[in-house]
């Protein structure tokens, strides 16, 4: 009995150490970035000397912001993420409602057609979508970055599932009372489906805040470039070279809002990512 207890004890200690080592290894990147971004540039990083310098400074942030228009990149990212969010919330709610509530000709096939978006990820369609954006005259606009995401198969699917779980009796009562379709949607269907909508919204925000390849292709100037593109251009500026404190400051600039949001709403974020496995 004591033998197995001892073994369990040792296993626990081993697992704790393993957890600590791995967690530290994973966290070291963000810790390093934060530390270096506040470190005076005049104190170069040397072998082994990677902790805070003699003083903490905001100079790197000021310098980074003066070298690239991060303010404009912020504005563009917020516009893009905002446009997508508003459009998606409306389109997935309406479509999810139609598929959950009504019976209509071709319903099955139309639903399947929409699911096509899940089967062929947008990344693969970069080239033809780029030429569509050009033909629409939207090249180098924030709208071009956002437009392909205005409808979401996954969101439609999620909302349909959530609406189907609304008790039948409740819906029938609403119909009997003579509710119009939007009253039914607003008062009967939507309230219990709110958690699903919020979960979808959170993952949409973080997915589009972080997107890189599509905006890279359809943007050309500062008037439409989001933060991710701005950061990569910044790292490639001639005067940046290997000035790590500036790079770290720029990186933290891009990460910060979403990261803070995540720290506050950790549980909701994780739940939303769980729900949106296929993005």
């Amino acid at each position: 009995m004591t033998g197995s207890k001892l073994r369990k004890r040792l296993t626990d200690v081993f697992l704790n150490i393993l957890t600590a080592v791995l967690a530290l290894a994973w966290a070291s990147l963000i810790i390093w970035a934060v530390v270096v971004s506040f470190r005076p540039e005049s104190e170069p990083l040397g072998r082994g000397d990677v902790w805070f310098g003699h003083s903490v400074t905001f100079a790197n942030y000021l310098k980074a912001w003066s070298l690239a228009p991060f303010g404009i990149y912020y504005r563009n990212t917020i516009i893009i993420v905002g446009m997508i969010l508003i459009a998606q919330v409306i389109t997935i709610t309406l479509a999810g409602f139609a598929f959950a509530h009504y019976r209509f000709k071709g319903k099955k096939w139309l639903f399947f057609f929409i699911l096509l978006q899940l089967m062929i990820p947008a990344a693969a369609l970069l080239v033809p979508n780029f030429s569509t954006i050009r033909k629409l005259g939207l090249f180098d606009t924030t709208l071009a970055v956002a437009l392909p995401y205005f409808g979401s198969a996954f969101g439609t699917f999620l909302m349909r599932q959530a609406f189907l779980e609304v008790p039948r009796d409740l819906v029938d009562a609403g119909v009997m009372d003579g509710c119009s379709w939007w009253q039914l949607l607003w008062h009967v269907y939507l309230p219990p489906a709110m958690p699903t909508l919020v979960a979808f919204a959170l993952s949409s925000i973080s997915w589009h805040w972080n997107e890189f390849l599509w905006p890279l292709v359809v943007t050309l100037t500062e008037r439409s470039r989001p933060l991710t593109i701005g950061l990569v251009r910044f790292t490639q500026l001639g005067e940046i070279g290997a000035r790590w404190p500036l790079l770290a400051a720029a990186t933290i600039t891009v990460i910060a809002p979403l990261f803070l949001l995540f720290l506050v709403f950790q549980k909701q974020f994780i739940r939303s990512f769980l729900h949106s496995g296929l993005k």
Partner: protein, 303 residues
């Protein structure tokens, strides 16, 4: 009374017959314009030769299967295919095993375990390009932390990972694993928390070790989670190349270029629209076979 208790069928839900079509139309239009139409368009243009940077080839000419033949004989494409295979086979199982391990480790009630969970998960919400920017420092020769850590472990091999044709792809893969493992972890964590605890209690009483409980009980019970997680991981491996733009630009000499990155190069650097379209078709076929396979498998597992 009897009328009220009778449930209405969807057919009896009144409204103009065109209403449902109107409600789904925005979503339909987006899928039509940005998924269905471009798929058709890519197939069509893949039969044409068109270079945007060469005056006499600017207007498309029909060339049949020439673009596909070019791909088959192109050493670049072969290298890229090989890299893609290495990338997928190298990152996907590694991320999944780490994800399962992380989930097990943080699924215990120990003080401070929330911090560990946070440490594993936070890369998920970072943009891949920011993660890659930080990693760039870690890979820096001489004073990068990665090499410092490796030296501490007794490794004295080449240090310039990003500039070394034998290591660049590996470096890119390491970043992908670091970024993805924590994301996949949450699915296992949810799976573990849904497992019936009495099975483990019974096993514990029977004296089964932690290890046995793990491999003989938990892992088999999480088969569906593993299937789901594998699909996400494989699709991600094909569609996320952001870090390559930051770390290696596909180099040195194509050694770290994978399919989607190569597609970008062919279209936006070489301006070769026909070949890029043929590559798009290849990518679509791969993506479709993954998603359809997953669909069939999960149907068989029973929804």
């Amino acid at each position: 009374m009897s009328l009220a208790s009778k449930s209405l069928t969807p057919a009896s839900r009144k409204g103009p017959s065109w209403l449902p079509y109107l409600l789904i139309s925005p979503t339909l239009v987006i899928v039509l314009v940005f998924t269905a139409w471009p798929t058709v368009q890519a197939i069509y243009t893949s039969f044409f030769r068109q270079y945007l940077n060469i005056a006499k080839f600017r207007t498309p000419t029909f060339v049949g299967l020439e673009n596909y033949k070019t791909l088959l004989t192109s050493p670049d494409f072969h290298e890229v295919l090989r890299n893609t295979a290495i990338y997928v086979v190298g990152t996907v199982p590694t991320s999944i095993v780490l994800a399962f391990l992380f989930a097990l480790l943080v699924n215990r009630t120990v003080k401070g375990i929330g911090l560990a969970r946070l440490a594993f998960f936070y890369p998920t919400i970072l943009p891949m390009v920011s993660a890659a920017t930080i990693w760039m420092f870690f890979f820096t020769p001489d004073y990068g932390l990665f090499n410092t850590a490796l030296r501490a472990l007794g490794y004295h091999g080449p240090q310039n990972w990003l500039g070394n044709p034998h290591l660049a792809l590996l470096a890119v893969m390491i970043v992908a694993v670091w970024k993805n493992a924590g994301y996949l972890m949450i699915f296992y964590l949810a799976g573990l928390q849904n497992l019936p605890t009495d099975v483990f209690e019974a096993a514990s009483i029977d004296g089964a070790s932690w290890w046995t409980q793990l491999w003989k009980i938990a892992f088999p019970l999480l088969r569906r989670t593993t299937l789901f997680v594998s699909t996400i991981a494989i699709i991600d491996a094909f569609q996320v190349v952001d870090h390559i733009f930051v770390l290696t630009q596909g180099g040195p000499s194509q050694s770290s270029s994978v399919l989607l990155y190569y597609l970008w190069q062919v279209r936006f650097e070489d301006q070769n629209v026909g070949l890029a379209s043929a590559l798009t078709v290849v990518l679509i076929v791969i993506m479709l076979s993954i998603t359809v396979t997953n669909f069939v498998l999960s149907e068989r597992e029973g929804a």
